[in-house]
Amino acid sequence: MKIYGKILLATLPLLLIAFALASGITFYLSRSALQDIAEQWLQTRSLEALSAARDQAEFLEAYGLNTVEASVAQAQGDAGAVMSGIDIGKQGFVFAVDAGGRLVQAPDPSLVGFDVSGEAWFDEMVKAQQGQISYRFQGEPHLASYHYFEPWRWYIVATDPESEVYGAVNRLGTYVLALGAGGSLLIAVVLMALTRRVTAPLAELVRGAERVGRGELDTTIAIRTRDEIGILSRSFNEMTQQLRVLYGRLEERLTTVVSHTPIILFSLDQNGALTLLEGKGLDTLGADSDAVIGQPLSALFGRSPEILAAAESALQGETVNSVAKLDDQIFEIWCAPLVDQSNAAAGVIGVATDVTERVLAQEKLRRQAEYLAALNETTLGIISRLELDELLQAVITRAGQLLDAPHGFIYLADENESEIRRKVGVGVYEQSVGYQLHAGEGVAGRVWQSGEPFVVNSYDTWEGRVPNPKYDGYIRALIGVPLKSRAQVIGVLGMAYDATSLRVFGREEEALLTRFAELASISLDNARLYALAQEARRRAEEASELVVRKNQMLESVSTKLSKYLSPQVYSSIFSGKQSVELSSKRKKLTIFFSDIAGFTETADKLESEDLTQLLNHYLTEMAQIALRHGATIDKYVGDAIVIFFGDPETRGVKQDALACVRMAIEMRERMHELAKTWRASGIENPLKCRIGINTGYCTVGNFGSEDRMDYTIIGGGVNLASRLETNSEPGEILISYETFSQVQDEILCEERGQISVKGLAYPVATYRVVDSYEHIGAERKVMREEAGSFKLDIDFDSMSPEQRRQAAEILQRALARLSDS
């Protein structure tokens, strides 16, 4: 059965069943849905009618008219009019029946008065009072919904003939069936037509494919449609077209290949007679293809039994690959049996490719590869040698291996380059190492002079030879090549064959040795460079040792020096931050002056050694404190110490001032402690310091001459500090207002009146340092309040009694005004 039949048989019954099912379901569902809708609808209408009656009855009740017969009749008439206006489909209507079974309201006035009391459905209505009924009226089945209306004792009925309720679906049933049957028929016909339409071009395609299979590549299929079949047909046509083109191209390529490559394409019939003979390879054979067609293969390849044997094997059904010689030519032979369609042996096809040139080229290549391998190995062997003698030995050995030469030598130029000297030798030349030649002498001399390779293949008869009884007559061929460092010839590499060898030095050998010599030259350069580097390293190590020694000396010098310099200055100078030269700058510093009160008297009482010890002890202690606080110790003058803060390192003017004052406090305390120690060593009166501190601008830097410089400070600020010191009492620290303003937050001070200083036009306010607040555990008595436009700022400590009195007076005035308002 073809596709056509299969499709029809499968789909048609399914279609018919589906149609029948769909029709049946549609009909059933529609009918039951319609009944639901109709019942709902009728009930709604019946309730609508009931509400019309209820409206009227309520109206009568409201106006006391329910006892007036005419009013009730009118109301019923009005209700009836509303009921008549209720539409139920085209044929349905609302009617009312009184308790006696008489129609009291109907759209058709002729029905009014009609008696239905005998009807079974009326009894049902009387019994149930409200619900749904199915009944026959005037011979026709009706559906109805009814409600009993008590005030008028009316049964209000909304009804509709079933024919109308189900009319649509009944008609639909017929339509659906007819449509189903008609549709099935139509689809069957369409399906048949469609399958035929589909299968006809397929059959045509099948026929076309069969024709192409038989080799009829000019087959085309007529394209009748644009559908998939049409596309398939077009693709088929394109495919055959492609095949035609490909085949043609293949044929052309084969012809090109055969006529341009040195092959011979031949075929034999089953009797071994040539049926085809083509190819460029025939040119070298000088055979005339036309003449030998029909002849056995031996007519062409009679001199090559290998080819004939291969053809014979192919005739037997084997595929043969082999290489055959024909005279001086070499052929690659490929022979395969030909079979006809019934798979029977029908002859042989063969290709003979002339590979003579290829084989020769391969042979040459192989030799070159061997040379290269040797060269490579040789080079690698020598290039890593750095010791010159060892290297020269390796070079000569490798060169011998490379050229298969038993004798060889290397000359290197002397330092003054007036002659060359044989450095190493092998074979006959081994014995005469150290032999010297001048430029132009012998082979080596010539090469050294010209810088070009030189070959002598009959050394015996060469007139330029340097006579040497050892190898005269023994050495037959000699070659020399230059060894160069950059462009300069630094030596000569020579190799020789003796009379026992048949070999001579040809161009290949010359080129080979020249290249080897170039590589050897590089190695020689390397070896010389290595030797130089070794020498340089040795010298550097010697220099380094010297430096270390000098550094050690310098360090000891600077350590001694540090004792005479402030560590900051010291490190500043030695770290290179500040150069040691005559320079100065202006900075705000805090300057400290101290001396020991009554030192001169004490000094007079002491022995010189004791004095030195005491002073050194004192200064060392003080210096330690000063350094801990980051001070720059300017100088000691006897028992006096000059210290400043703010250079070369500063922490800011305020911090510098604070540090200075704290240092002074600590020194004073330390002096108390030292007093005990000194008392023990016989110093009766405790030593007390006088200390003055000022903060101000000074010029700081290296002052002095080129030969001797002093890092110190000068300026008014220094003088004031000194004046403060001389004005202070023993054990007292006196500071200027400038310093006080910087430290007052943390240091408790007392005002001590004013002093005049030479060089300053105005008197200077002075303060006595009591101690730091931190030490005495007290806070500075300051009161600062702020609220809106009110501000209070009182520094109780800094107030004089007069100021306190004034302040109290002002505050009392303010208080009085505040309480007034």
Partner: protein, 546 residues
């Protein structure tokens, strides 16, 4: 003996018309008949049954003849379609509005036409009518000092929104049936021109009314005529007539003669059968019978014996026969009425079918009447003394009543008095049975003024024309009034009437149409079924054919 009464009057008329024919030539003639008079050949002359113009102020005009004049001069926001009342259409308003409720109040927004010009007045030039005039006018209508209809406009405020938009706000929402008549071209709904009113003052304005209608006031000859000229700037187009002359001819024969001679073009006619017969032969004259006429109702006083007994009232109702009453009037002029509110002209009336179906038409039934009287203990009848107006449709009906009740031993003694006097005396509760002829603009007014307890004569809160002393449908009347849905409102009115008919407090007798005669050359330019203006309505389309 109605036939006796009718014939002599007819003979008297004939004699009188002969006399007046001469008199008219002598006295009125030169003005009335001369072709060279101020009235050109294209001026329509209306002969009307009144002595003079009462007032030209539309907010006071109540007499039929005054209503005709103001109808030609003024417009309303809406109008009854000319000749086709009670159909309503826009007049000065561009469209009929729909109400909306804002903060519990009902708001009707009127967008005004922008092409309406106020006529030039004696002190004012012509100017464009705007919302100012409308607001002024409706507020004026609500002012008891300046309007006879102020009662209809209580609980209503009028606000100008912009030059051509006006909001009418009602404290209590009402239906369109009740609202539209307030703003239609009827009574207080007429829009006056503010500048003219303010320039002229109340009385001056009444003497020389200025409006926006198709005709404008020209001149008045007291006791003789009022001349109106075409308003060439009328927004519906220049009238085809040059003008209208309203000629005051109280005597019917005189009017009749003038019409036949061609000295008048239109006259207020007569409902008498004889005249109808006579005029039918005149080719040059055409008689129009149309609404809205008036409803004749017989009211029974339920407040005193013997009519306080429902059975007695039922008996009277069954004893009377509408057709007998009708025989005293020309064919077609009078129609039987079965409902207090005339169903043919107003929403809320009960049709004959409806009444008959409910058995409330009280179809003439002597036996039933006797039985009911006997049941009530009056098989020997009783005596009633009633006053009647000398006017035909009162007196003829009272006499017919008397005659119809006589066989039931009910003796009715009639005292004929002046029309005005009758009105006074019936309002003093003299008659046990009142026959009353009236038109009211809507069902609410009909029911309220005749059957609401507040309207009870003498004793009511605001005594009016509840001659029956009836108080059983107050709540229904009020419920209907406050109902905004017209269909429901109609249903309530109907139920109210069913109740009162069931209680037999009134016996709707007749509906009397208007009768006007015109020369055949007069074309009113519109259909003529009913006119609230109580005359055939002349407007821009009315013309005289040559």
């Amino acid at each position: 003996m109605p036939s006796h009464e009718g014939r002599p009057s007819c003979r008297r008329s004939a004699r009188r018309s002969a006399l007046f024919a001469a008199a008219v030539v002598l006295i009125v003639g030169p003005g009335l008949m001369s072709p060279g008079s101020a009235a050109g050949s294209n001026t329509l002359r209306l002969g009307i049954d009144a002595a003079d113009l009462g007032t030209g102020d539309p907010h006071r005009a109540a007499a039929r003849n005054d209503r005709a004049v103001v109808d030609m001069i003024f417009n309303g926001l809406l109008r009854y379609k000319p000749g086709e009342a009670p159909l309503i259409e826009p007049d000065l308003a561009a469209e009929i509005p729909r109400p909306r409720i804002v903060e519990g109040k009902q708001v009707w927004t009127f967008h005004l036409r922008r092409d309406v010009m106020c006529q030039p007045g004696p002190q004012t030039p012509a100017y464009r009518m705007t919302a100012d005039d409308v607001v002024y006018s409706l507020r004026r209508a609500a002012d008891p000092q300046r309007s006879a209809y102020a009662g209809d406009y209580q609980g209503m405020t009028v606000e100008r929104v912009d030059d051509f938009t006006v909001d009418v706000v009602l404290d209590t929402p009402i239906s369109s049936i009740l609202f539209f008549p307030k703003v239609a071209d009827y009574a207080g709904g007429f829009i006056v021109c503010r500048q003219a009113v303010e320039a002229a003052g109340g009385e001056g304005f009444a003497d020389h009314p200025v409006g926006t209608g198709p005709f404008r006031f020209d001149s008045r000859q007291p006791g003789e005529r009022v001349r109106l000229r075409a308003n060439k700037d009328y927004f519906r187009g220049r009238p085809l007539l040059e003008g209208v002359e309203v000629v005051y001819v109280p005597d019917f024969e005189e009017r009749d003669a003038a019409l036949r001679k061609g000295d008048l073009d239109v006259i207020f006619g007569s409902e008498e059968a004889d005249w109808f017969e006579a005029i039918a032969d005149e080719e040059s004259v055409h008689v129009d019978v149309f609404g809205v006429g008036q409803v004749i109702t017989i009211h029974f006083n339920t407040g005193k014996p013997p009519l306080d007994d429902k059975r007695v009232r039922w008996a009277l109702a069954y004893a009377l026969d509408r057709d007998v009453f009708r025989s005293h009037f020309a064919e077609g002029v009078v129609e039987n009425a079965y409902s207090p509110v005339p169903a043919a002209f107003l929403p809320g009336g009960l049709t004959h079918d409806e009444v008959a179906r409910l058995g409330l038409d009280y179809a003439h039934d002597k036996a039933k009447a006797r039985a009911l009287l006997a049941e009530a203990g009056y098989h020997n009848g009783f005596h009633l003394k009633l006053v009647t107006s000398q006017r035909h449709h009162y007196r003829a009906n009272y006499e017919s009543l008397r005659d119809q009740l006589a066989p039931f031993n009910i003796e009715v003694e009639l005292e004929v008095v002046e029309h005005r006097i009758m009105h006074e005396r019936i309002r003093q509760d003299e008659n046990a049975i009142v026959i009353y002829v009236a038109w009211r603009p809507n069902a609410d007014v009909f029911l309220t003024r005749f059957f609401h307890s507040a309207s009870t004569v003498v004793t009511g809160a605001s005594p009016d024309t509840n001659f029956s002393h009836y108080d059983q449908i107050d709540s229904l009347i009020e419920a209907a009034r406050s109902t905004r849905e017209p269909a429901r409102q109609v249903r309530i009115w109907k139920q109210a009437q069913i109740k009162l008919l069931d209680d037999a407090v009134a016996y709707p007798l007749h509906y009397v149409n208007l009768v006007y005669a015109r020369g055949s050359h007069v074309d009113y330019g519109h259909a003529l079924k009913a006119a609230m203006a109580l005359y055939p309505q002349f407007n821009e389309k009315t013309r005289l054919e040559n």
